[in-house]
Amino acid sequence: MTAAAETQAVERRQHSLTLYAGAVLVGIHVVIALLTLVWLPYDPSAMAGGRLEPPSWLHWVGTDRLGRDLFTQLMIGSRIALMVGVGAVAIGAVIGVTLGLLAAFASRWLDDALAATLDILIAFPTLLIAMLVVAASDTASLSTAIVALGIALSAIVARLTRILAKRVLLMDYITAARTSGTSWLGIVLIHVLPNIWPTLSVNFALQFGLAVIAEASLSYLGLGAPPPNASWGRLLQEAQGTVYTAPIGAIAPGVALVSLVIGMNLLADGLREAIDPTRQAR
């Protein structure tokens, strides 16, 4: 009894640790992103020092091959990444959950049609859709990338929602709710959404990461938002050629990106364990 209580206490401490670690990591990026709106250490597009300088007190992570301060560019990268992640996930979640629930509840014919459409949308994945959109619009902008990523993510969310909702709909309590006359909307709100929400919200955090990574990939391929929007992906692409002489330039943007994505994942894990009663009981 006491041992069990102790394990539970330890587990709860671990959960809150996950939550705090995630909150701190994401919080740092949010603060930096807000800071870039009012203050930057250097002009991001001006030569602030020598070329490929190693880290120093003046330039915390050195300079790039044009002598621009890398830390300034990393800071701007935080802002861009947050905008991409939040925007794309919001668009993806609204479209995806609606479509997925619709498919799960729909008649067989409509379900098949929606499932097929989702398959096609997934067949044109995040990166390809964004590549096409960017190639099509001569003026590549951040908002086109965000919308493209959001639409691409919505297919994944919808597919997951559909599968999860269908599993819930097979349960006996759904039959009970139906026979007792609960409406379609009632079943969704009372039974389906609360049951699938923990899995979905964890998935949203993963989608946030996917969106940030996809945008970085796009920029890495040279198809991202143009300068002075220093996306981490473009920084990495520029630094790849000089990785032999200045490895810090090829490492720092990656660390920044990974810390944001991991922070988001930890935050989601912590929240899930705080919200989901079935996991707490275990």
Partner: protein, 346 residues
């Protein structure tokens, strides 16, 4: 109740029931496969339509890609006739569908080579890369994912989870850059990229060129898969059926392997299809990191050069492959989980 008294009749009727049962199972699967095939065909049609619309939405006339700056009116007209963009859209659409149905993907604007042949050449790089990378990912993910779930109370179970967290947060191209930095630049064990001009006929060179890219894919995809395997195993571990099996006297490994794998595999298989598809399409980025002449670099080049037939061809073939993978994953799910064969009636 009569058959209970006579062993022979009981046996016969039971075999009959079994045969009937197997037959009806097979019929259900077959019916699903047929229906899913119809969906696949419709999907292909829709995909082709989407592709057509997308590519026609691109600004400018495809014929412009054939011409330099300052082409004369006659040259433009000739190019339009050659490309077919002077025809009404409906005519273009029908001929586009006809060509695709015959797998005639046209010829490149830039190199004048048949698109399908070029795709075939590029596949010789992309397909092995994808398959080896994916095999490595499975090799990492399945055992480690199960260990991470079953031994989540030990340090190594926790360590696996933490490392997999790291793995899914890392963009694949950064892993590639880091591997190049470590293994090609610092240790000088492997080439930093490139592929022999003669392809697989100089197979040793080709194989060493594949090691780092495939490892990159394997690590990143493996970490992402591991999370799903771990989550599925955790669900199984907390399930009533496992507790019941244990209560009925199965040992823990026996209960896990007899009841757990099949239950846990269902969500994992649906993810596998998506992951395999995204591995294949993620090759675009990997090929860029290691300068491999695969399908991805073909697409990237074609987009930059506005080489419409190549863009269209690569997108169509990738879509076809991705749809086929989804098809296979859906059937596999039905084979594993009989509960999914029946449908939810609204």
């Amino acid at each position: 109740m009569n058959h209970r008294r006579r062993k022979g009749r009981w046996f016969r009727s039971n075999v009959g029931a079994m045969i009937l049962g197997v037959l009806s199972e097979a019929t259900v699967i077959l019916a699903y496969t047929l229906r899913r095939t119809a969906i696949l065909l419709v999907s292909l049609l829709i995909a082709a339509t989407v592709l057509f619309v997308l590519l026609r939405l691109l600004p400018g006339d495809p014929a412009n890609a054939l011409l330099g700056v300052g082409a004369t009116q006659e040259q433009i007209a000739a190019a339009r006739a050659q490309v077919g963009s002077d025809q009404p859209l409906s005519v273009q659409f029908v001929s586009f569908l006809g060509n695709i149905a015959r797998l005639d993907l046209g010829t490149s604007f830039v190199s004048r080579a048949p698109v399908l042949a070029e795709i075939g050449n590029r596949m010789a790089v992309t397909l092995p890369l994808t398959l080896i990378g994916f095999a490595l990912a499975l090799l990492f993910a399945i055992p480690l994912g199960i260990i991470a779930a079953v031994r989540s109370d030990r340090w190594y179970g926790a360590a696996i989870s933490v490392v997999s967290q790291l793995g899914i947060a890392i963009p694949v191209f950064w892993v590639g850059i880091l591997l190049v930095w470590v293994f090609a630049i610092n240790l000088r064990w492997l080439p930093s990229g490139g592929f022999p001009l003669r392809g697989w006929s100089s197979w040793q060179e080709a194989a060493t060129g594949m090691v780092l890219p495939a490892l990159t894919i394997g690590l990143v995809m493996g970490a992402s898969l591991l999370r799903y395997v771990r989550a599925a195993t955790l669900d199984v571990l907390g399930s009533d059926f496992l507790r019941t099996a244990r209560a009925l006297g199965s040992s823990f490994p026996e209960a896990l392997f007899r009841h757990g794998i099949r239950n846990g595999a269902v969500p994992v298989v649906s993810i596998l299809g998506i992951e395999l598809a995204s591995t294949f399409l993620g090759a675009v980025v990997i090929e860029r990191v290691f300068s491999l002449p695969g399908l991805g670099s073909m697409l990237l080049l074609a987009i930059q050069q506005r080489d419409y037939p190549n863009v269209q061809g690569v997108l169509f073939v990738s879509t076809l492959l991705v749809l086929l993978i989804g098809f296979a994953a859906d059937i596999a799910q039905r084979l594993i989980d009989p509960r999914l064969r029946g449908r939810v009636q609204p």
